[in-house]
Structure formats: structure tokens, C-alpha cells
């Protein structure tokens, strides 16, 4: 069993080294494979202890901040070099929650800014559960798609958790952009959408490119292309559901109460 461990370590690149807690976890896993040590039931129950997940929260403040700063940089493929390329779940989870809060805030702000004089502001909370479900599903499913694609080209260095980590951090760009998205000018909204699409996709592709450097070209481009296509689809869904429909709802309200030339101006611009 220890021979296998040595073999695993030797094919890992320096950028994907394991921390102490990961090594301990691996040794514990191998001990658990010994049938005298733990029954199948006990192994399953480990999933419900906190200690099992502590390994993925083994981060420091500086590490998280440097990863966040790196994710704003779309061209350097150095994300997996920071902190030894260890996958973690703290960053993706809290970035996701911050993003949900920010988008809910900016949807309400955009509604507030589109108020006609004499209209009363109606806050919208109905959107928050839907937004939360959309974001969580997106963050769960898309890295699985990446992992399946990587498995197809038999690339095993990037595990599922690495995909979760990098996808979670790629969402950081959306936080300031969502705040700016509350400005009700359609031209600005489209420009911000294009910027976010570009930044996220190029961040993901340049990092995957860095890891896939040694593979033949067709496989590499296939992965990279898949990443780009999935991103574009999600971005378009996001824009057309959350920010367009708010415009239409507001227009709907405006139509019932009073006819304005602003209505035709916005419709014309869209």
C-alpha cells in the first residue's frame, strides 16, 4: 500500500503537492481500506463527521485573498500554482453566498432606479430563492461536466475538487459586475455582460490550458472549447432571466399606470 502512495506522489507535479493534513487523510484512507480496521458502514459514516471535511477548509486568509486577486487576472494561468494547488471549498462556498447577496441587492437597486415619479418602491424577494437555486446548481453541475470531460481525455491530475475550486473562484469577477449591473442603461448592461463572459472564460481556459500543456492539441482544444461554450450558455441564461425580466416587469407596471415616452425609448433600445 505504501508503494502505491509513492507512485502517486511521483506523478504529481510540484504544483499539486499535498499538505500535511492531506497526507494524513490519505494515510487514514488507506488504513480504512484494511478490512480489519473499519466496516463499510463505518466508512460511510465518516461522511457525516466534521473532521472529514476539515481537510477542504485548510486555508489561511492570505491564501484566499491571493487566490481572489489572481482570479481577476484573466491571462496568467497561475491559479493552480498558488498554495500548491490544493483544492478547497471555503472560497467557492462563501464567494457563492456573497454573489447571491450582491445580485439580490442589485436587482432591487435596479428596480428602485427605474421608479417613475409617484410610484411606490416594491422590493422583490421572490427572486432570492430562485437565484440561490440557480447559482448552487450551476456551481455543482458545471465542475462535474468539466471533470467528466477531463476523464474522457484521461487527465487525472485535476480532480473534481480542483474543478470546484477553480470554478468557484472564477465567479469572483461577477461580484463587482453585478453591483454595476444595477444601472438601468441597457448598453452598460450588455457591455458588463460581455466583460464578465470574457474574463471568466479566459480565466478558466488559460488555467486549464496550463494544466493540459502536455496533451495533444485536439484534446486540449476540445476541453477548452467545452469550457467556453458552457460559460456562454450560462451567462446568456443569467442575463435574460434576471436583468431583462426585471426590465419587462417594470415596464409592465409602468404600462398599467401611465404611458411614458421612456417606455418606447427603452423598448426601442432593446
Amino acid at each position: 500500500m505504501l508503494d502505491n502512495l509513492n507512485q502517486d506522489v511521483s506523478i504529481l507535479q510540484p504544483s499539486l503537492q499535498m499538505t500535511d493534513s492531506q497526507v494524513q487523510n490519505r494515510i487514514r484512507q488507506m488504513k480504512m481500506e484494511d478490512p480489519e480496521e473499519q466496516t463499510c458502514y463505518q466508512k460511510f459514516c465518516n461522511l457525516f463527521t466534521i473532521e472529514y471535511y476539515r481537510e477542504y477548509f485548510d486555508v489561511t486568509t492570505e491564501l484566499v485573498i491571493s487566490k481572489v486577486v489572481n482570479s481577476f487576472n484573466p491571462f496568467s494561468g497561475t491559479f493552480f500554482d498558488i498554495g500548491g494547488g490544493i483544492p478547497e471549498l471555503y472560497g467557492p462556498f462563501w464567494i457563492l453566498n456573497t454573489l447571491i447577496f450582491t445580485v439580490a441587492l442589485s436587482v432591487n437597486i435596479s428596480k428602485y432606479m427605474q421608479l417613475q415619479p409617484g410610484e411606490h418602491f416594491e422590493y422583490q424577494f421572490q427572486i432570492v430563492p430562485f437565484l440561490a437555486i440557480f447559482m448552487y446548481l450551476k456551481t455543482l453541475i458545471v465542475p462535474m461536466i468539466y471533470r467528466v470531460a477531463l476523464k474522457c481525455v484521461s487527465q487525472d491530475r485535476l480532480t473534481l475538487l480542483h474543478c470546484f475550486t477553480i470554478y468557484g473562484y472564477s465567479a469572483v469577477v461577477m461580484i463587482p459586475v453585478s453591483l454595476l449591473n444595477s444601472i438601468p442603461n441597457p448598453a452598460i448592461q450588455w457591455m458588463l455582460l460581455v466583460y464578465v463572459l470574457f474574463a471568466q472564460t479566459s480565466f478558466l481556459t488559460s488555467n486549464f490550458n496550463q494544466e493540459l500543456k502536455y496533451m495533444p492539441k485536439e484534446k486540449k482544444y476540445m476541453i477548452v472549447g467545452l469550457v467556453a461554450v458552457v460559460q456562454i450558455t450560462i451567462m446568456i441564461l443569467y442575463k435574460f432571466y434576471f436583468f431583462s425580466s426585471i426590465n419587462y416587469q417594470q415596464l409592465g407596471l409602468v404600462k398599467r399606470k401611465s404611458h411614458n415616452h421612456i417606455l418606447s425609448h427603452i423598448l426601442g433600445a432593446n
Binding site: T61, E62, Y90, T98, F101
Partner: protein, 202 residues
């Protein structure tokens, strides 16, 4: 029984000869004792100068205080909320209630996952007690909000949010190793920010 400001009220589990007395006392006495315990803990948590023994009082956690503050906040906000086309008063109540408990659960879980060794309910109790300033701010805005311009409303909101965050940050930061302090504190900050924003908007 003698309640001074310095000594905390006695808990039920302490003395056996108290138990027969508990059954014989009037209901108002029982309730007053619980209320005094909550008030004592509240002063302890929110006014840092009262903490002479570095947080040891928090080991006697209770969930009555958090429940009361959560209910008062939810009722204030749902009372003030007008029924709109997309949400009703009961929606607002449900959202606040779920948000406080699930939020406290997630923040505590996060602190434990980062390596903090604290009892789960102790942390939930503290986070619940620190919701009290948000309560004050919600009541101020509920009664006076329609007379004040938006910018003036922001002042009590911001002050109460800062007070909540400051009281709970000291405790949360002491739970985790030093290089992870900001990581444990950020979710607390986000939690109270969301609650304050909610009470401002509604």
C-alpha cells in the same frame, strides 16, 4: 433568592433543594427569573466592558434569548411590510425566521470547519443575542421610517450593524487559529449585513 447585578441568576440544574421550591413558586416568578437571565446575558454580550471573565459566562448557553429576538424581529418586519404582488407579510416572517436560524447554523459550521473548537450551541446562542441591535434598528425604522429621508435612515442601520458585528466578532475571532481569523469573521459580517439590509428595505 437575591439578584444583584454582579451574580448571574441560578440555573435549574444547580441545586436539588431548589427544585421543590421551583414547583411551588408562582408562574410570574419563574418567568421573571428567565427574563432576568436573558437580560443579564444580553448586557454581557453587547456591552464589552461587562466581560471580566473573558467569555466564560457564555458557556451557559440558552436559546430562549435568540428565539425571542428572532420572533420580535420577524414580527416587526412583517408588521411593517405591505403586501405586494410578489410577497406577503407571511413570506417576510418566514424568510427572516429561516434566515436567522439557518444563517447562524452555517456560520457556526464554518467556524468549526476552519478548526475552531467550540460547542455548536454556544456559538448559535451568541449570534442570536447579537441580533438585538438589528431589532432596535428595525423598530426605529418601522415607526419613524416614513418620516425620514433615505440617507438619514442609513445612519441607525449602519450603527446597529456595526454594534452587532463588533460584539460577535470578538468571540468568533477567538475560536479559530490566528491566521484564519478573518475567514471566520467574514461570514458573520455577511450575515448581519444581510439582516440589516433586509430591515432597511422592508
Amino acid at each position: 433568592m437575591d439578584y444583584t447585578n454582579q451574580r448571574p441568576p441560578q440555573n435549574y440544574s444547580q441545586m436539588d433543594d431548589q427544585k421543590t421550591q421551583d414547583l411551588e413558586e408562582s408562574v410570574s416568578e419563574t418567568i421573571m427569573r428567565d427574563l432576568k437571565m436573558i437580560a443579564y446575558k444580553l448586557k454581557y454580550v453587547l456591552i464589552p466592558k461587562e466581560q471580566e471573565d473573558n467569555g466564560k459566562e457564555l458557556r451557559n448557553w440558552d436559546l430562549w434569548g435568540p428565539l425571542i429576538f428572532c420572533l420580535v424581529l420577524a414580527m416587526t418586519l412583517s408588521f411593517k411590510a405591505e403586501s405586494t404582488t410578489t410577497s406577503t407579510k407571511s413570506d417576510v416572517f418566514a424568510i427572516i425566521f429561516v434566515l436567522i436560524w439557518v444563517g447562524a447554523f452555517i456560520v457556526t459550521l464554518n467556524a468549526q470547519l476552519l478548526g475552531g473548537k467550540v460547542s455548536f450551541f454556544q456559538s448559535v446562542c451568541l449570534l442570536g443575542y447579537c441580533v438585538f441591535p438589528i431589532n432596535i434598528e428595525a423598530i426605529i425604522i418601522a415607526f419613524f421610517g416614513s418620516y425620514l429621508p433615505f440617507l438619514v435612515k442609513l445612519i441607525p442601520v449602519f450603527l446597529c450593524f456595526a454594534w452587532s458585528a463588533y460584539s460577535s466578532v470578538g468571540f468568533m475571532a477567538s475560536l479559530v487559529p490566528p491566521h484564519k481569523k478573518k475567514l471566520a469573521v467574514y461570514p458573520v459580517f455577511l450575515f448581519y449585513l444581510f439582516l440589516s439590509w433586509f430591515s432597511l428595505i422592508v
